[in-house]
C-alpha cells in the first residue's frame, strides 16, 4: 500500500456565481521515501491538493489515506493530533512565530507529543543541526535572513519525525542562491533521513531535485521526465 493514497478526490470552490472544480475525481499514490514535486499552471489545485493531504482542508468527495489513516474521516481535533505526529508542513512564507526564538519555533511540534524534556532537547538540536542553524538557536525570526527563516521552518517540519513532509513553494520567496541552498537541503533530508516529501513548486530547478515530477492540469496528474519539466512550468 502507498504511503499517501488519494482516491476519487473532488474539491470545488464558489467564486461569485461560478463554481470552480480544480480537483475532480483525482487519484494519486506516493510511496514511502518518494520525493515528489508537483507543478502545473496557477489555479489548477496544486496547493489545494497539498492542503487536503495535510488535513487542513477537506475534500467534497473521495478518500485520502496517509500512512494507513483515512484523514478524511478524522475530526478537527483528531486531525490536529494526527498532523502533530505524522505530518510536517513547510510554508512558502516560513510562518515562524515571531515571539519565539528559532529553538522555540522548532521545539513547538514536540511540545504536542509525549516525550521527556531531554528527548525533546535532543530532537530540536538535531533538527537545527540538520539545517545548519545550531548557532542561530537563540535568534528571533526578525534577526534571521529569509533563507535562515526557511531553514528554521524546515527544521520545525522534520523535528517530530513525521511520515510525510509537504512543502508549499518552499523556495518561492527566496533569491536564487538561497533557493538553491534550500533545494540541496530538501534533497539531503529525503536521501539521508528517508523523509517522504511532497512539494508544490513553480520553480523548474526546484522541481528537478525531486525523484518524481508530477504535473497537475485540468484535474489530471501526469508524470513527466526531467527534460519535460521546464516546458510544464511555462505552460
Amino acid at each position: 500500500m502507498a504511503l499517501v493514497e488519494l482516491r476519487g478526490v473532488c474539491k470545488s470552490f464558489r467564486k461569485g456565481d461560478e463554481t470552480i472544480t480544480p480537483l475532480d475525481e483525482v487519484d494519486l499514490d506516493i510511496e514511502a521515501g518518494d520525493f515528489v514535486s508537483l507543478m502545473g499552471p496557477s489555479g489548477t489545485g496544486k496547493s489545494t491538493l497539498l492542503n487536503l493531504v495535510s488535513g487542513i482542508d477537506r475534500p467534497d468527495a473521495g478518500t485520502i489515506r496517509v500512512a494507513g489513516t483515512e484523514v478524511t474521516k478524522l475530526s478537527r481535533g483528531k486531525l490536529a493530533d494526527w498532523r502533530a505526529a505524522n505530518l510536517g508542513y513547510i510554508f512558502q512564507t516560513h510562518n515562524l512565530i515571531p515571539v519565539l526564538t528559532a529553538y522555540e519555533n522548532v521545539e513547538l511540534p514536540t511540545l504536542l507529543l509525549k516525550m521527556t524534556s531531554s528527548q525533546r532537547r535532543q530532537r530540536v538540536e538535531l533538527a537545527l543541526e540538520a539545517v545548519g542553524l545550531s548557532d542561530r538557536a537563540d535568534h528571533y525570526p526578525r534577526q534571521l535572513s529569509g533563507g535562515q527563516e526557511q531553514r528554521v521552518g524546515i527544521a520545525r517540519a522534520i523535528v517530530a519525525h513525521p511520515k510525510v513532509v509537504v512543502a508549499d513553494e518552499p523556495t518561492g520567496s527566496l533569491d536564487t542562491e538561497t533557493s538553491e541552498q534550500v533545494q540541496v537541503l530538501l534533497q539531503r533530508l529525503n536521501k539521508e533521513l528517508d523523509i517522504t516529501l511532497l512539494m508544490v513548486t513553480h520553480d523548474t530547478d526546484a522541481a528537478k531535485i525531486a525523484s518524481r515530477q508530477l504535473v497537475l492540469d485540468r484535474g489530471m496528474f501526469r508524470e513527466v521526465g526531467l527534460d519535460e519539466t521546464s516546458t510544464v512550468s511555462n505552460a
Binding site: 487542513i56 478537527r76 490536529a80 512565530i97 515571531p98 504536542l112 520545525r156
Partner: protein, 377 residues
C-alpha cells in the same frame, strides 16, 4: 506553550500595561465599594448588633437631641432578661454624613472595659480610669488623625488626652473615642448633668431582644421622657438610613466596575487574536488542537485580568488597612476595613472575568479557517 502566551503579552507590552492598569483601577473601586457593603453588613449583623439594645429618646435621631435621664439605668436593669445597662453620652462633631466624623462616647470606664469588645494596643486602662480627661481612641480614628498615647486632642469644646489606642472585632467600635461619662456630661455646651444620650442594654443569653425592648418602652412610658428601644443593629441602620440607601445603590457601581474590566480585557483579547489569526492557523497546522488554541487565548485574557485585578485588589486592601476610612452620620459610623473575604472576592472575580472576557476570542482562535487564514499577507 505557556511561554508563548507570556511572550505574546510581552511583545505588546504597551497594550498589556494599559489593559492591566485599567483592570487594576476598576478592581480597586470594586473592592472599595465592597468594603463599604461589608462594613454596613457588619454594623447591622452579629451578636453585638443582635443581642444588644439601644434605648433612645422617642422621635429623636441626632444624638444631640436625645436626652434621657441617667437614672433610667436602674429601671431598665430591673426588667427580666436584662444583664447589664450602660448609660452613654454621645457627642459628635457632625450630625450629617461625613467621611471624617469624630464620635465621643462617654460611659463608666470600668463598665467599658468589662462590656465592650475592646483590646488596647497601646496605653493602659488604669490611666483611662483614673484621669478625668483621659480618652481611649479607636484604631481607625488614631490612624486617620495621627493620634498616639500622650497626645492632647481637641475638637470643638472637647479636649482630651489620649490614654490608649484600641482595636476591636466590631470594626465600627474602632471609629469611636471613649471618655468617662462625667467628663462628657460636664463638657461646656452640653450641659448634660444627670442626662445621657442613650442606654445600651446587654441581654441575658435566653432573653428575646424584641420582647425586652418593648418591655423597656412600656415601663418608661410613664417616665419623664418616652423612649424607643431597638436592637443595636436596627438602631444603627435606622440612624444611617440615608447612607444605607446610598450604599445599596453603590453596589451597582461595583457591578459597573466588573463590566468595565470585562469589556476592556475582552476588547484587548479580541484585537490580539484578530491581529494574530494567521499565527493561530499556523499553530493548528503544526498540530495544536482547537481546544488547546482556545486555552491559549483564555490564558492570555485570564493573565491580563488576574494581574490587573489582583494588583487593584491588593492596592485597595492596603489603602483600606492603612487609611482608617469610615463614613458616619448622627453618631453611627461604618468602618471600611480590608478583609480576607474582599481579597478572595477580588481574586475570584478577576479569574472569572478573565475567562469570560477571553471566551469569544478563544472560539475565534479555535475555529479559524486554516486555509484562508494562511493566505493572509
Amino acid at each position: 506553550m505557556f511561554r508563548y502566551v507570556l511572550k505574546t503579552l510581552w511583545r505588546h507590552r504597551t497594550r498589556t500595561l494599559l489593559t492591566v492598569t485599567g483592570a487594576a483601577v476598576a478592581m480597586f473601586v470594586f473592592c472599595f465599594v465592597g468594603s463599604v457593603q461589608e462594613g454596613l453588613h457588619r454594623l447591622t449583623t452579629g451578636s453585638d448588633a443582635d443581642r444588644n439594645l439601644i434605648v433612645f429618646q422617642e422621635n429623636r435621631f441626632c444624638p444631640t437631641s436625645s436626652r434621657l435621664p441617667e437614672d433610667y439605668e436602674r429601671v431598665i436593669a430591673e426588667i427580666p432578661g436584662v444583664r447589664d445597662v450602660m448609660p452613654i453620652q454621645v457627642w459628635t462633631n457632625n450630625c450629617r454624613a461625613s467621611l471624617d466624623i469624630v464620635v465621643f462616647n462617654g460611659a463608666d470606664p470600668k463598665q467599658i472595659q468589662q462590656t465592650r469588645p475592646l483590646k488596647l494596643t497601646s496605653g493602659d486602662w488604669q490611666q483611662f480610669q483614673s484621669t478625668r480627661d483621659a480618652a481611649i481612641v479607636g484604631r481607625n480614628v488614631a490612624q486617620r488623625r495621627g493620634l498616639k498615647v500622650g497626645d492632647q486632642f481637641t475638637i470643638g469644646e472637647i479636649s482630651v488626652r489620649v490614654a490608649g489606642v484600641f482595636e476591636s472585632n466590631v470594626p465600627s467600635e474602632e471609629n469611636l473615642i471613649y471618655t468617662s461619662l462625667q467628663f462628657l456630661q460636664y463638657t461646656r455646651g452640653l450641659d448634660a448633668a444627670g442626662l445621657v444620650t442613650q442606654h445600651e442594654v446587654m441581654l441575658t443569653d435566653t432573653a428575646d431582644p424584641d420582647r425586652v425592648a418593648s418591655a423597656i418602652d412600656q415601663k418608661l412610658r410613664a417616665g419623664a421622657v418616652a423612649t424607643k428601644t431597638r436592637r443595636k443593629g436596627a438602631f444603627q441602620a435606622s440612624t444611617l438610613s440615608d447612607l444605607v440607601d446610598l450604599i445599596g445603590f453603590a453596589h451597582w457601581l461595583g457591578y459597573a466596575c466588573v463590566a468595565l474590566v470585562l469589556s476592556l480585557v475582552a476588547t484587548t483579547t479580541v484585537m490580539s487574536v484578530q491581529d494574530r489569526i494567521k499565527e493561530y492557523a499556523v499553530l493548528q497546522t503544526v498540530g495544536v488542537r482547537p481546544l488547546r488554541a482556545m486555552r491559549l487565548v483564555l490564558a492570555e485574557s485570564t493573565i491580563l485580568c488576574v494581574v490587573g485585578g489582583v494588583a487593584g485588589t491588593a492596592l485597595a486592601l492596603t489603602a483600606l488597612g492603612f487609611g482608617g476610612f469610615a463614613i458616619g452620620a448622627e453618631g453611627a459610623t461604618i468602618a471600611f476595613r480590608p478583609s480576607l473575604g474582599l481579597a478572595a472576592t477580588g481574586t475570584v472575580v478577576s479569574v472569572v472575568v478573565g475567562v469570560l472576557a477571553g471566551f469569544i476570542p478563544a472560539i475565534q482562535a479555535a475555529t479559524v479557517p486554516i486555509v484562508s487564514a494562511l493566505r493572509q499577507a
